[in-house]
C-alpha cells in the first residue's frame, strides 16, 4: 500500500493551506492550486464546494458560491485534485467537505476516486458518533479521517474522540464572540496542551489565523505543532476586487510570508 504523507509530517511548524476547489472558476482554480503547490506546504486542504456550508464563515461561503456558479461537479473537483497530485512531492493532500457530498457521490466511488493520492479527509459535519462505517472504509484504503476538536469539547469527549486518531488533529481556535476575531492564545495553549496529553499526532490550529504575525504568535505562545490558513487566502481575492492576476501575485507573496 502506498505511503501516507501525513504519517511523516515534520515535527513542528507545520503549515496547512486551505483552498476551495473550483474557485473562482475551474481554470483559475488550477492556477491557484499550482501556485500553492509550488511552495510545497506540508498540507493542502481541498475544500469541496457545498451549497449550504453551515460551518463556514462568509468568505468561504462566497468562494463556494462562485465555484458552484458554473455547476462544478464533485467529479470535476476530484479530477482537479488528481491532476495536481501529479506534481505532488511530500505535501499531504487532504479533502475537506460536508457529508452530503460524499453520501450523494457514494462512499465507495468517492474513495475509489481519491485513493493513492489523498492522504486525509475532514468531514465537517460528521461527528464521531456517526463515523464508524466511513472510518473503516477509509482506513482500508490508507486514508486518515481527521478529527476536529473545539473549545466546547470537554475532556471526556476529547478522550473518546481522539482514540486511534491519525494524521493530525484540527483544533478549532475561534471560541467566538460575535465581532471579535481575536485569538485567545491562553485558551488555545491550554487546550492544545490537554489534547497533546491524550494523543501523539500533531495538533494544528485553524480558524481565525490571518497573517504572518498570527502564525508567529501561535508558535511562540502555544504548543501547537502547526497552523491552518483558509479564509485569509481567499479574502485577498475580494480585497483586490476580483482581479485574478493581481490575486495570484499577492497569494505568492502571502504564502512566502506565512512559511515561517
Amino acid at each position: 500500500m502506498q505511503m501516507n504523507n501525513l504519517d511523516s509530517l515534520p515535527k513542528k511548524k507545520i503549515l496547512s493551506l486551505f483552498m476551495t476547489c473550483g474557485f473562482p472558476t475551474l481554470n483559475q482554480s488550477k492556477k491557484i492550486f499550482n501556485e500553492i503547490l509550488s511552495h510545497q506546504p506540508d498540507i493542502i486542504e481541498f475544500g469541496l464546494p457545498f451549497s449550504d456550508p453551515m460551518a463556514d464563515g462568509p468568505i468561504i461561503q462566497e468562494a463556494n458560491k462562485l465555484a458552484l456558479r458554473s455547476n462544478l461537479s464533485t467529479q470535476q473537483s476530484l479530477d482537479l485534485i488528481k491532476y495536481l497530485s501529479k506534481s505532488k512531492n511530500n505535501t499531504s493532500f487532504v479533502i475537506m467537505c460536508y457529508l452530503n457530498t460524499v453520501r450523494k457521490f457514494g462512499l465507495h466511488k468517492f474513495i475509489k476516486n481519491i485513493k493513492n493520492f489523498v492522504d486525509g479527509i475532514i468531514i465537517v459535519d460528521l461527528p464521531f458518533e456517526e463515523e464508524d462505517a466511513i472510518k473503516k472504509s477509509l482506513s482500508k484504503n490508507n486514508i486518515h479521517l481527521i478529527k476536529l476538536i473545539s473549545p466546547m469539547t470537554d475532556k471526556k469527549r476529547s478522550q473518546k474522540l481522539l482514540k486511534n486518531s491519525k494524521g493530525f488533529i484540527y483544533y478549532i481556535s475561534a471560541t467566538g464572540i460575535t465581532g471579535s476575531n481575536k485569538l485567545d492564545y491562553k485558551e488555545i495553549n491550554r487546550n492544545v496542551k490537554s489534547i497533546k496529553k491524550m494523543s501523539s499526532v500533531p495538533v494544528l490550529v485553524g480558524f481565525g489565523i490571518k497573517s504572518k504575525k498570527d502564525v508567529i504568535d501561535i508558535f511562540k505562545k502555544t504548543n501547537a505543532d502547526g497552523v491552518i490558513i483558509g479564509s485569509a487566502l481567499i479574502q485577498k481575492y475580494f480585497d483586490l476586487k476580483m482581479d485574478f492576476n493581481r490575486y495570484l501575485k499577492s497569494l505568492k507573496k502571502f504564502i512566502k510570508e506565512v512559511k515561517v
Binding site: 453551515m54 460551518a55 452530503n100 453520501r103 459535519d125 458518533e129 466546547m152 478549532i172 460575535t178
Partner: protein
C-alpha cells in the same frame, strides 16, 4: 402494530434524523438533550408551561365544526383545530414557550431564531419580550419583503431582525445563518428552532411541545363525535404543526393521516417545495431526511407562495412516517392553495394562512363528493392576516386602493 416509539436515544426516527453538525455544536446539542430529558420529568416545568398555555396562549384552542365547508365539499364532516386563535396567530407559540422555559433553566441569556413566514419569529420575539431576553431573528430578505406585517410585529416586540442575503434569501438560508450565529456564540446563546427539523434533539423536542394540539383534538373529538376521526390533515413545511396534530394519533391505526406539501408551480417542476414528493434522502441542517437536491447533493432552492412552506427539507420524523407508510404525503400548487384560501374565507368566515390553505386545498380536491359519514380534523395552524398583501397581489386585487 407495535407501539410507536421514536426517536431512539441518538435521535433516529428509523433511519432518519441524527446529529450532523460540526464539533463546535456537538457538545451543545448533547447538553441540550440532557437538559431536555431532565425537564420532561420536572413537574414544576410542566405546571409552568401548562399555565402559560392556558392563560397566555388561550389554550385549549377550539375544535370548530366547519358546517358550510362540509356542505360545500359534500363529503365528510370537517372540523378545524383552531390553533390560529392562539396568541400570535399560529401554532408556533406552543413550541417557543417550551423552549424558552428550557433556555431559562439552562441559564442562557441570548435567544436566536430563524423564521420564514415570520410566525415563528413573532412567537419567539413574543416569548423573549415576556421573559425579558434579547432576541435576534434571522430572516431571508425575500421573506422580509413578502411578510412585512410580521417584520413590524417582531420589531415592536423588541427583536432585532437580521436580514439574510445568501442563497435563495428564504427560510433555508435563515437557518444556515442562525446555525452560524450559534457556532460563534455557543456559550450564552439558545437557538429556538421553530420546526421539527434540524439536529437531534430539536425534531423530538419541537414535536413534543406541539403535541398539545393533537392531545386536545383527541379529547375534543371524542367528546363531540364519540369516536376518533377517520382522517387528519395538516400542511407540512418543516412539519411542526403536522407532527403536533399527528403524534398523539399515531398508534390509532384506524385514523388515516395526510400531510400536504407545497408543490409551488407543480411537484414535477423546478419551482416546488414538495420535499417528499420530489426529493431524495440527504443531509441538511444537521439531520438526515428527504431534501430537494441535485445529483451532487447540492441543495436546491425551494419555491412556494407560502413563506412558511418554502423549505427544501422536511423534519426527519415525516420522512420516517412516509417510509413506514403511516402518513401519506401529497403536493398542492400555489394556485390551488390560493383558491382554497378564498373559499374558506367566504364559507367559514375564517381567513386562513397560506400554509393551512394548502391542507384545505387538498381536502376540497380529494374529498369532494366522497367519504360521506366520515370525520376529518384539519389543523388550522395559522391565520391569514400576514398573507393579505401576498394574496391580494396574487389574486390581482389592489390592496392600496
Amino acid at each position: 402494530m407495535k407501539t410507536y416509539k421514536q426517536p431512539n436515544t441518538v435521535g433516529r426516527f428509523g433511519e432518519f434524523g441524527g446529529m450532523y453538525v460540526s464539533e463546535t455544536l456537538m457538545p451543545l446539542l448533547l447538553d441540550l438533550d440532557k437538559s431536555y430529558k431532565k425537564i420532561q420529568k420536572d413537574k414544576k416545568f410542566k405546571k409552568e408551561l401548562n399555565d402559560l398555555f392556558k392563560n397566555y396562549v388561550g389554550r385549549p384552542s377550539s375544535l370548530h365544526y366547519a358546517k358550510n365547508l362540509s356542505k360545500y365539499i359534500n363529503g365528510p364532516k370537517v372540523y378545524f383545530k383552531r390553533d390560529e386563535l392562539n396568541h400570535t396567530g399560529a401554532h408556533k407559540i406552543n413550541n417557543c414557550l417550551g423552549q424558552i422555559l428550557l433556555a431559562k433553566k439552562m441559564g442562557k441569556t441570548r435567544i436566536i431564531a430563524e423564521t420564514g413566514a415570520g410566525q415563528h419569529g413573532v412567537a419567539t420575539a413574543t416569548v423573549c419580550a415576556l421573559f425579558d431576553l434579547p432576541c435576534y431573528i434571522y430572516m431571508g430578505s425575500k421573506d422580509i419583503e413578502r411578510q412585512k406585517p410580521n417584520v413590524f410585529r417582531m420589531k415592536l416586540l423588541g427583536a432585532t431582525i437580521i436580514p439574510v442575503e445568501s442563497g435563495s434569501r428564504s427560510l433555508k438560508d435563515a437557518m444556515n445563518e442562525a446555525l452560524r450565529d450559534w457556532i460563534k456564540n455557543v456559550r450564552d446563546t439558545f437557538y429556538i428552532i421553530g420546526s421539527t427539523a434540524g439536529p437531534h434533539p430539536y425534531p423530538r423536542m419541537v414535536r413534543d411541545f406541539q403535541s398539545i394540539i393533537g392531545k386536545e383534538a383527541r379529547e375534543q373529538i371524542l367528546k363531540v363525535e364519540k369516536k376518533l376521526p377517520d382522517y387528519l390533515i395538516a400542511c407540512v413545511g418543516g412539519g411542526s404543526n403536522a407532527m403536533g396534530l399527528f403524534y398523539p394519533f399515531l398508534n390509532d391505526k384506524k385514523v388515516k393521516i395526510i400531510g400536504v406539501e407545497a408543490a409551488g408551480r407543480g411537484a414535477k417542476t423546478e419551482e416546488t417545495a414538495a420535499t417528499m414528493t420530489s426529493g431524495t434522502p440527504g443531509i441538511l441542517h444537521g439531520s438526515y431526511s428527504y431534501v430537494l437536491q441535485d445529483n451532487d447533493g447540492q441543495i436546491k432552492e425551494a419555491h412556494s407562495i407560502s413563506a412558511g412552506l418554502d423549505y427544501p427539507g422536511v423534519g426527519p420524523e415525516h420522512s420516517h412516517l412516509k417510509n413506514i407508510k403511516r402518513v401519506k404525503y401529497f403536493g398542492v400548487t400555489d394556485k390551488e392553495a390560493l383558491k382554497a384560501f378564498q373559499t374558506c374565507s367566504k364559507l367559514e368566515g375564517i381567513i386562513p394562512a397560506l400554509e393551512p390553505s394548502h391542507a384545505l386545498a387538498y381536502l376540497i380536491k380529494a374529498f369532494k363528493n366522497k367519504h360521506k359519514n366520515k370525520v376529518v380534523i384539519l389543523n388550522m395552524c395559522g391565520r391569514g392576516d400576514k398573507d393579505l398583501f401576498t394574496a391580494a397581489k396574487a389574486i390581482g386585487f389592489d390592496a392600496d386602493e
